[in-house]
Structure formats: structure tokens, C-alpha cells
């Protein structure tokens, strides 16, 4: 039977990596409420952690809480992170990391965003009046 469930939750979190356990709990609660298969949960944790910590570290001028929105649209999950009063940052345009380099030339920087791009085929971005929103889409099959 086709899945037609629709569900949306959003919450804002202070700009601190210490919030990550609370963020993961929020995601897990949404997965239970929206009846989303557990196989999709850890990739969503990964993408949200990587972008959230990147925004905390590098969004110049960002002082407001970061908003996380989870939306089930039938057979698709949309996960958005919105940062306010910050410069544009479209992770889709960041350079890929060369993961074939010898260990002596490897550095951890940029790896999280690179891996997130590898995990998600469909990533959206919108920048309006200082409001920067990245959305990860996941097919729920």
C-alpha cells in the first residue's frame, strides 16, 4: 500500500555542539511519530551534525539559534537547517575532498561536508535576505 503520511516538526537550537544529543533526540522522536524506517536515521543524524557544526564554526555574524525542520512528504523526507543573518553558504558548491590521497597528505578539514554530499543525491539551497536554508531530501522506499 502506498504511504501517504504527512508530518512536520521544527525546533530551534543554540549555536553549540553541546546541543547535538538534544538534536538527535528530536530527530529520533520525529522518526517514531512519522513512522520512518530506522535505516534512514543515521544518515540524517550525520548530515544534520555536519552542517550544524559547520554553521556554528564558520557562519560569520550568526548569533541567532539555528532552525531544524523535519518534514515527511509521503514517500520523501525533507530535512532543513536554516541559519539567520549570515552570508550565503551553498554546500553544493564546495570543493570535493580527494579521498585517494596518501595519509601523509590527508587532512580532516572539509570531510564532513564532502561525505554528506556523497550520501545525499538531492540537496536544495535557498538564500533570501540573509536567511540561509539547506535541505536534504531522502527517498523513503
Amino acid at each position: 500500500m502506498a504511504e501517504t503520511r504527512e508530518s512536520t516538526e521544527q525546533r530551534s537550537f543554540p549555536r553549540s555542539a553541546a546541543c547535538l544529543p538534544e538534536i538527535f533526540d528530536f530527530i529520533d522522536a520525529f522518526f517514531r511519530k512519522a513512522a520512518i524506517a530506522d535505516e534512514h536515521r543515521l544518515p540524517i543524524h550525520f548530515a544534520v551534525e555536519e552542517l550544524f557544526t559547520n554553521l556554528v564554526k564558520y557562519s560569520k555574524g550568526g548569533t541567532r539559534d539555528i532552525r531544524l525542520e523535519l518534514k515527511r512528504e509521503g514517500a520523501r523526507l525533507a530535512v532543513s537547517l536554516t541559519d539567520f543573518d549570515v552570508p550565503e553558504f551553498d554546500m553544493r558548491k564546495t570543493a570535493d575532498v580527494d579521498v585517494t590521497k596518501d595519509i601523509k597528505d590527508r587532512k580532516p578539514g572539509g570531510l564532513g561536508i564532502h561525505l554528506t554530499k556523497r550520501m545525499f543525491d538531492d540537496i536544495g539551497y535557498e538564500y533570501v535576505d540573509g536567511r540561509s536554508t539547506t535541505t536534504f531530501f531522502k527517498a523513503l522506499e
Binding site: A17, A18, L42, F46, E49, E50, V99, T100, K101, L115
Partner: protein, 99 residues
């Protein structure tokens, strides 16, 4: 929460979640590792790039001294992340002996 234990054979066992909120704890532990060790990740459910960075830094430091970390028993999400990161080329990754 990340849990770090050492068994009676000196194998380091990581379990739980290795995310950015746990990186400092892992860095402190790994800084004290000064020779070749086996790292059993069989009970590690999740790792992010901060966790990968801690392991990469440890491996680079140990290899500079002629030692290495050997990773065993990677599963699911953790194995997938290691593969995407190209870490299967810079770490020795094996299943547990006898597994």
C-alpha cells in the same frame, strides 16, 4: 555517548556514538596511545567527521613512529562512512579474527 574500554588483550573497544560532542573525550584517550593497537568498532553505532579526524590524527602520529592502528569489526553506518572517506585505503580494516 561514546564509551571507550581496553580489554585484557589490549584491544581498544569503542561503543556508542562518536559525534562532535564526544571528540574531546576520544582525543584525550587516543593521545595516550603510543604504539600499534587494534581498535574494535563492532559496537560503534555512529561516527561523524570529528570522529574520523581523531582517528586520522592518531594514525598519522603513530605511523610517524613506525606504528599503526588496525580497525576490526566495522558495521553498517560506520563501515559506509569509512568507505566514503577513503579510510579503507589508509587503515588496515579487518573483521574480528574467527568472526
Amino acid at each position: 555517548m561514546l564509551d571507550i574500554r581496553v580489554d585484557d588483550k589490549g584491544v581498544i573497544l569503542l561503543s556508542g556514538r562518536f559525534d562532535a560532542s564526544q571528540a574531546a573525550k576520544a582525543e584525550t584517550f587516543m593521545a595516550a596511545v603510543t604504539e600499534s593497537r587494534i581498535l574494535d568498532l563492532g559496537e560503534l553505532q555512529y561516527i561523524s567527521s570529528l570522529g574520523l579526524g581523531v582517528l586520522l590524527a592518531t594514525q598519522k602520529r603513530l605511523m610517524g613512529r613506525g606504528h599503526t592502528l588496525k580497525l576490526v569489526n566495522l558495521k553498517g553506518h560506520v563501515r559506509e562512512v569509512f568507505h566514503y572517506a577513503g579510510f579503507d585505503a589508509i587503515f588496515s580494516i579487518d573483521p574480528l579474527p574467527g568472526a
